[in-house]
């Protein structure tokens, strides 16, 4: 079309006062951060210590930061929806339909792709190399690229609030509604390109973590001596490598339909929209386990540490994890039992779905038996864990209910379903990430989090969860469909008001978490972790300092047992052989990953707005940068010599 594609002055958000206020808030927040960084003179350290870093721990922290920011944005969307539905009986509420639809689409997209995924990837990044006694991940440069691609996807979603609109097609972008004929604007394209860019990052993360775990374990650490969190990270990355291609394929096909007039999923001309549903959920169901399995790993670590016991049924937990990983690829059709497949097909997928409850049940019992007769310490991570166990069982039960095809025909697309998957993902994933966050925070930052505020946050969150989502189960039975902008059934309103009150409790929980961060930072002297082992931990990550040195371990430990650190503490007379002074090679920092992420962002933006020349330029830039790295003449490594500390100590003693 023109030089700037379909970008124009009418792309600014003047269509809804609420959208405009949101956009203004976002722009102001961005400007304030830029001003603060400039005023404090933080640009140089920001670039040197963070943006250019390839250190897995720092990349992990940046992932956590991204997840935190996106949690706030995604939760703001949730509040807006709860408020609208509480108000909109026989009225329009305060949100126009066009804006309301964008909000529920953005909420789901953000929470899955840009909150939960970065959260778990951040934790895996910080913890897994430490747990297996490695100096870094296998591909540190690629690791940074993955992060910046995730950031680029998140930035596209945030930008959609200011320039243009976001998708109104829900977080799944089902055709034919998401096709040009029904949704011509840039909204769905924002969704497509944000997901494609971030999805590429996730695939690479999966490959990276997988190779790291398989090839960088410390000597002696056989597979069955790996901590359970590492096991779940392993299975999750297998799922990432093998499930994300389906998302890439389905989104790319949708992009071809929308951009070049293909007919994969259109109503006419031979398109078949159910093919999209199939492809999307071949990714989508494993994705649920990509999110939940690492949380299961965290719960396992937390329960063992704070019960001061070896994990009950370690082997069964490993096998349950692997079985869940395999089964997760066999159940995707339960997301559209109403498609019209035969009763037998539906029955097969229904039964496969119910079977997943078996290994999951095994896990719950393993955790309970770990606690049984343990000397339990009720710390904040333990609160999240116990809260999870109680709440998750309810979600599991409603899941088995939905797995029965005839029941699903009744509950399909109702808020019962909304209640069910929030009941899986909030306790099943998010509580786990919170538990992991408070459990490993001292390792990453060198000081513990304030316990009082942590427990307050827990109580507010769990109370809010029940008040917000139990009414949705009831509303589902009362026939309320999901994604209603307004309604005329008076009986629904009291329950929707209750749900909104629940959201306010969750808001209080988030506020407590922010206060917790501030209070802990203020008291970082008294909360300081000087030993590197604040919880009397059992696994290798607690054997090194908090925060660890860039190379993690001065000497790579030799592993003798499951829970190696606990074994060392319990084994009387164990002496670690002092080794020779070590020479360590670490990868050099680089600004290229950030530049690649920035180019991917520009590429996505150009594709969304049909600015073809810019898209080609961005692609060529990425190509040029990758090619340039192949011509460098140095090894890309920096060499660090660890002085022999034992010799140094002996010298001090003798003088």
């Amino acid at each position: 079309m023109t030089f700037l594609g379909r970008l124009g002055i009418d792309s600014l958000p003047f269509y809804s006062p609420v959208a405009f206020a949101g956009a203004a808030t976002e722009v102001l927040a961005a400007l304030m951060i830029l001003a603060l960084v400039t005023w404090k003179g933080w640009w140089k350290p920001l670039f040197r210590d963070w943006i250019a870093t390839v250190d897995h721990k720092k990349i992990g922290i940046m992932y956590l930061f991204l997840a935190g920011v996106m949690l706030l944005r995604g939760f703001a969307d949730a509040m807006l929806m709860r408020l609208q539905q509480a108000m909109a009986l026989n009225s329009d509420g305060y949100l126009p339909p066009e804006h309301f639809n964008q909000i529920f689409s953005a909420h789901g997209t953000i929470m899955i792709f840009f909150m939960a995924m970065p959260f778990l990837t951040g934790l895996i990044n910080i913890v897994v190399p430490l747990q297996i006694g490695a100096r870094d991940v296998a591909f540190p440069f690629l690791n940074a690229v993955s992060f910046w691609l995730t950031g680029a996807g998140a930035a596209l979603v945030l930008l959609s609030l200011v320039i243009g609109k976001f998708s109104t097609a829900g977080w799944t972008a089902y055709p034919p509604f998401s096709e040009n004929s029904f949704t011509p604007g840039p909204g769905v394209d924002y969704w497509i390109w944000a997901v494609l860019v971030a999805g590429a990052g996730s695939t690479m993360t999966g490959i990276n973590v997988l190779v790291t775990i398989l090839m960088r374990r410390a000597p002696g650490m056989s597979l069955m001596r790996m901590p359970l969190f590492t096991w779940t990270a392993l299975v999750t990355s297998i799922l990432m490598v093998f499930a994300f291609p389906a998302l890439t394929t389905s989104s790319a096909m949708l992009a071809l339909d929308r951009t070049l007039g293909f007919h994969f999923f259109t109503n006419g001309d031979g398109g078949n929209m159910m093919n999209y549903a199939n492809l999307f959920w071949i990714w989508g169901h494993p994705e649920v386990y990509i999110l939940i399995l690492p949380a299961f790993g965290i719960y396992s670590e937390v329960v063992a540490t704070f019960s001061d016991k070896r994990l009950f049924g370690y082997t069964s937990l490993v096998f349950a994890t692997a079985v869940i990983g395999v089964l997760s690829f066999t159940v995707w059709l339960h997301h559209f039992f109403t498609m019209g497949a035969s009763a037998n097909v539906n029955a097969v997928f229904g039964i496969a779905t119910m079977i997943i409850a078996v290994p999951t049940g095994v896990k719950v019992f393993d955790w309970l038996f770990t606690m049984y007769r343990g000397s339990i310490r009720l710390t904040t991570p333990m609160y999240w864990t116990i809260g999870f166990m109680v709440t998750f069982v309810i979600g599991g039960a409603t899941g088995v209910l939905l797995a029965i095809p005839p029941v699903d025909f009744l509950m399909h697309n109702s808020v019962f379903l909304v209640a069910h998957f929030h009941n899986m993902l909030i306790p099943g994933a998010l509580f786990g990430f919170f538990a992991g966050f408070s459990y490993w925070f001292p390792k990453a930052f060198g000081y513990r989090l304030d316990e009082t505020w942590g427990k307050r946050a827990f109580w507010a969150w769990i109370t809010g969860f029940y008040i917000a989502f139990m009414p949705l189960y009831a509303l589902g039975f009362m026939g309320m469909p999901r994604r209603m902008e307004h309604y005329d059934v008076a009986g629904w309103q009291p329950l929707l008001i209750t749900a909104a009150i629940g959201a306010v409790f969750i808001l209080a929980g988030i506020a407590c978490q922010i206060v917790q961060l501030y209070v802990s930072w203020k008291n970082r002297e008294s909360l300081c972790d000087t030993t590197g082992d604040p919880w009397d931990g059992r696994t290798l990550e607690w054997m090194t300092s908090s925060p660890p040195k860039p190379w993690n371990f001065d000497r790579i430990p030799t592993v003798h047992s499951l829970d190696e650190f606990a074994w060392r503490k319990e084994t009387a007379g164990f002496v670690d052989e002092p080794g020779a002074p070590d020479v360590i090679a670490l990868p050099k920092d680089s600004l290229l990953p950030m530049a690649i992420g920035a180019s991917a962002f520009i590429f996505g933006f150009a594709m969304i707005w049909h600015i073809w020349w810019l898209a080609i330029m961005a692609l060529l830039t990425i190509l040029a940068m990758l090619t340039a790295t192949g011509f460098t003449r140095d090894s890309g490594l920096r060499i660090i010599r660890i002085e022999n500390r034992d010799a140094a100590r002996a010298e001090v003693a003798s003088s």
Binding site: P245, L256, H263, F264, G271, N272, A585, G630, F631, S635
Partner: protein
């Protein structure tokens, strides 16, 4: 930890490096090989889904022409021969590189490039011909899935050609060393992988089309 490497310890880059750096780089080579296998598996899944989509959509021609009867088996056979022989010449290039005969390697890489480019040329003329006949990808679901499956393979070949050209220049400029040798071997894996995918396309698209 010492490992014996199958790679030549030569080239302008390796000479100044310390033992630690060399050890680290040999480990990196092994890890990259493993990572690349995983990438290929992941990519193979994309093709598997595109094949499945073709299987589902091949007959969804709506009001458009019958895709399968439009396909030219003879042309596809020539393309197959071009791509298969390019895989063979790439194999020769890899062997020469292993034996540290850089000039021969460069020669075979150039031959591979030409064969690959010829393949791509044939494919593009086929695409152009179809579009000229009014059988472009925007005509029917069937043609969309045909163009996407075959075109995605073609895009991969294009990427392979770019990579091949860059490696050619690198080999000229830097000479043969561990990193480059391993990188060219990974390119070889990629190239052979595209061959296997093409055999699938030849069977499930063109032979199936000839049966129609």
């Amino acid at each position: 930890m010492t490992t014996t490497s199958s790679y030549p310890d030569r080239g302008s880059r390796g000479s100044g490096w310390t033992a630690v750096e060399k050890e680290e780089l040999e480990r990196a080579v092994r890890e990259r090989q493993a990572g690349f296998w995983l990438y290929l598996l992941s990519d193979a899944l994309i093709f598997a889904l595109l094949f499945a989509t073709w299987a589902v959509m091949a007959d969804r021609i709506a009001t458009g022409p019958d895709t399968r009867s439009l396909l030219d088996l003879n042309k596809a056979f020539v393309e197959t021969m071009l791509l298969l022989s390019s895989s063979f010449t790439f194999g020769l290039a890899t062997l020469e590189l292993r034996a540290d005969r850089v000039r021969n390697c460069l020669l075979w890489m150039a031959v591979t490039f030409l064969l690959g480019a010829a393949f791509l040329g044939f494919e593009l003329t086929e695409f152009m011909g179809l579009i000229d006949q009014g059988a472009g990808p925007d005509v029917s679901g069937s043609l969309s899935s045909f163009f996407t499956l075959v075109g995605t393979h073609g895009l991969h070949v294009t990427a392979g050609l770019v990579w091949l050209a860059v490696s050619f220049i690198q080999l000229l400029v830097i000479g043969n060393d561990i990193q480059l040798c391993a990188r060219i071997e990974r390119l070889g894996m990629f190239w052979h992988f595209l061959d296997i995918v093409w055999i699938g396309i030849f069977t499930f698209v063109y032979l199936w089309g000839a049966a129609a």
